[in-house]
Symmetry: C2
Subunit: 392 residues, 2 copies
């Protein structure tokens, strides 16, 4: 492909407008921002003022996608619109880069994935920019290469998402079942829920979770979660998150039968066993002995490329067939964890994966009926902005 | 009281013989070791060889306690004998220092506590020597004095209890329902389960736990535990332990509404909020702001006095009425947590505290019936030795 990919950004809130500027900056070779789209009329004036005249403004995503003026769309709309808009884009033969989370429920995201599978010419990616974070890339490398051995335990304490009540009060849609379809899991944690499965290559077989709704703030949705998960190989995991504490913690500990890795404060430490634990256990005949263990500070030398890295990779995939860092179809995995944690809490019971989508949607529908937010969310800011502005 | 307290150590395995030597060393003013007792005939020869002739050897605890030759007994027998022996001691008007854990089930420990309450002249203590560890004393101080504010979350990852199969194979009673009545919770974790409640002054209202039995080793009992607990004030806790991993972790994180404390690697760090989080939340009107936070390295200047410290304190309490560091009646608290975690797993459901003792005992009785260990445990080593030899 020699000509530039004509890209439209749909949804130009905080996040979408940042992506638009990235595309205009020249840092994405082979891509050209030719259009933006936002259903909020006020954004047309913003667009006229801040974007070159070469960038067309559209008010209706469907009309834009039908127009034949773009090859690819970057969806930075509220996540509950992602699936519907992506499906439409695939029908029009467009490439899609969707912001995270992929959607609200796995059912709609599965429909999006099905539509993507039926449009194999369309390159479908998701904005999991934390997959470019070298510390998590290194963890994935150490696991995939077998350095850590078979995984036994995952403990992620990710409680550094502090939000005051004023944050929630800043938009009527925020932290409502109708507006967002969830709380800390859907708004703040999509990266960690993806990294939990992406770095390890494992999805749990069942989950038992304990969400607390409005524990710290006057909101409808969960602002505190403790989840326990079990995996087919016998491994177990704990995932703890909240928006109500300060300063919070971000500590991811992974134990394998060849040692332990801890990621905290942007450092990765590997306690490496000289011989695998099962080998030691087999030969050892004493009482309180243990395998020889080396504390290794692992160099982190790559640079995080962030959102521009994901956009660049998506464009390269379109133009040159480069493998995607974050294939769009993988967005369902982190969302499955999120949906399962809510469902387990609502039913006060185990949830086996894959989850029963109908049960999840039934529960969610009841909560949406009673939700304080009755709008259609067309006027809301693009929600993924929250993470981008604050994620470290 | 001017005369020395005449002390007998009952059960002279690893732990009991250590206590006997401590009493003989002169480091416990006002106490005199006048007798030891062990049901294993072989220990009489050991006693003759290693102890002064002034120390009488008894084979039967009951006869010793009836003899009128001692004022106080230190029970270092297998923990399933603790309650029965302590009750007998109280009936004979003796003071009691019992090793941890207090017993196997809360029912028998409650009976022990009732007998102690009916013998108010007897000074009853428990060997929670980790209560003399200055890092946990400091944590307790910071919580009790209000520095940390109201507690919101406790996360204790205590997975550094590595035991190879050869450890379990070294005694037929080890890690059996009949021999020990539990695994990592009853043998390795009594200190942490006590410190969890002692440092915070809080017991949970309900627990949902996930024990795995023989996950890493060929044993009957639990060698892997993840427990979630909720407290009346809304706080939650996670407790994670295992004997199957190396190098493991010992990290205790406590979050309050005035900051966060982490104890790891024998250091205590306090992230102190300049104003309480609820006060900040009330006044703050922005989006992503947070309370001002100071990272404080807290000096740990006291010295850990360990087992001798607990014995000394018990003797001082007997002689001078000094308040006990570890009142014996408090042993039921950590054991309640342990019993609740097993019961929750067995019933695959929540357990509300105080636990239903009958249900716990019924479950345990069924497992004892099928237990591989049929002995009466009279020939076993004193189990608490495991912790003392290896803690930290």
């Amino acid at each position: 492909m020699t000509s530039n990919v004509r890209v439209a950004v749909i949804g130009i809130g905080n996040m979408g407008s940042t992506h638009a500027r990235t595309l205009l900056s020249g840092s994405i070779p082979g891509a050209e921002l030719t259009a933006v789209c936002d259903m909020r009329a006020s954004m047309e004036a913003w667009s006229r003022e801040h974007l070159p005249v070469s960038v067309a403004f559209w008010n209706d995503p469907e009309e834009l996608m039908q127009s034949g003026t773009v090859d690819a769309v970057l969806l930075a709309t509220p996540h509950k619109d992602h699936a519907r808009q992506a499906i439409s884009a695939f029908h029009h033969g467009l490439h899609v880069l969707v912001e995270k989370p992929a959607g609200v429920s796995t059912r709609e995201v599965q429909e999006m994935n099905d539509a993507a599978a039926a449009a194999p010419e369309s390159v479908f990616a998701i904005m999991y920019n934390q997959r470019t974070n070298p510390v998590y890339r290194k963890l994935r490398d150490l696991i995939a290469s077998g350095e850590l051995g078979e995984i036994r335990r995952l403990n992620w304490i990710i409680t550094n998402w502090y939000r005051a009540q004023s944050y929630y009060d800043s938009g009527g849609w925020r932290a409502t079942w109708s507006g967002e379809g969830g709380g800390v899991l859907i708004n703040q944690c999509p990266h960690q829920l993806d990294l939990l499965q992406w770095t390890t290559g494992m999805m749990p077989s069942r989950i038992r979770a304990f969400c607390q709704f409005g524990r710290y703030r006057n909101i409808e949705v969960e602002d505190d979660v403790t989840a326990y998960a079990e995996y087919e190989n016998g491994a177990s995991a704990v995932f703890i998150t909240t928006t109500g504490e300060y300063p919070g913690t971000n500590r991811f500990e992974v134990t394998g039968d060849r040692g332990k890795i801890v990621i905290e404060h942007d450092r990765l430490t590997f306690w490496r066993l000289r011989e695998p634990e099962p080998v030691f256990n087999e030969r050892y005949q004493g009482a309180f002995g243990h395998p020889e263990c080396w504390q290794c500070d692992i160099p982190i030398e790559e640079t995080e490329t962030g959102h521009p890295g994901i956009i660049r990779n998506w464009i390269e995939a379109i133009r040159e067939g480069t493998p995607l860092i974050a294939p769009g179809a993988e967005g369902i995995r982190g969302l499955t964890l999120s949906n399962a944690m809510l469902l387990s809490t609502w039913e006060d019971d185990w949830v086996t994966l894959p989850i029963d989508e109908q049960r999840f949607e039934d529960h969610l529908a009841r909560r949406r009926e009673e939700s304080s937010f009755a709008g259609d969310a067309a006027g809301q800011e693009s929600m993924p902005a929250d993470m981008s502005n604050t994620y470290k």
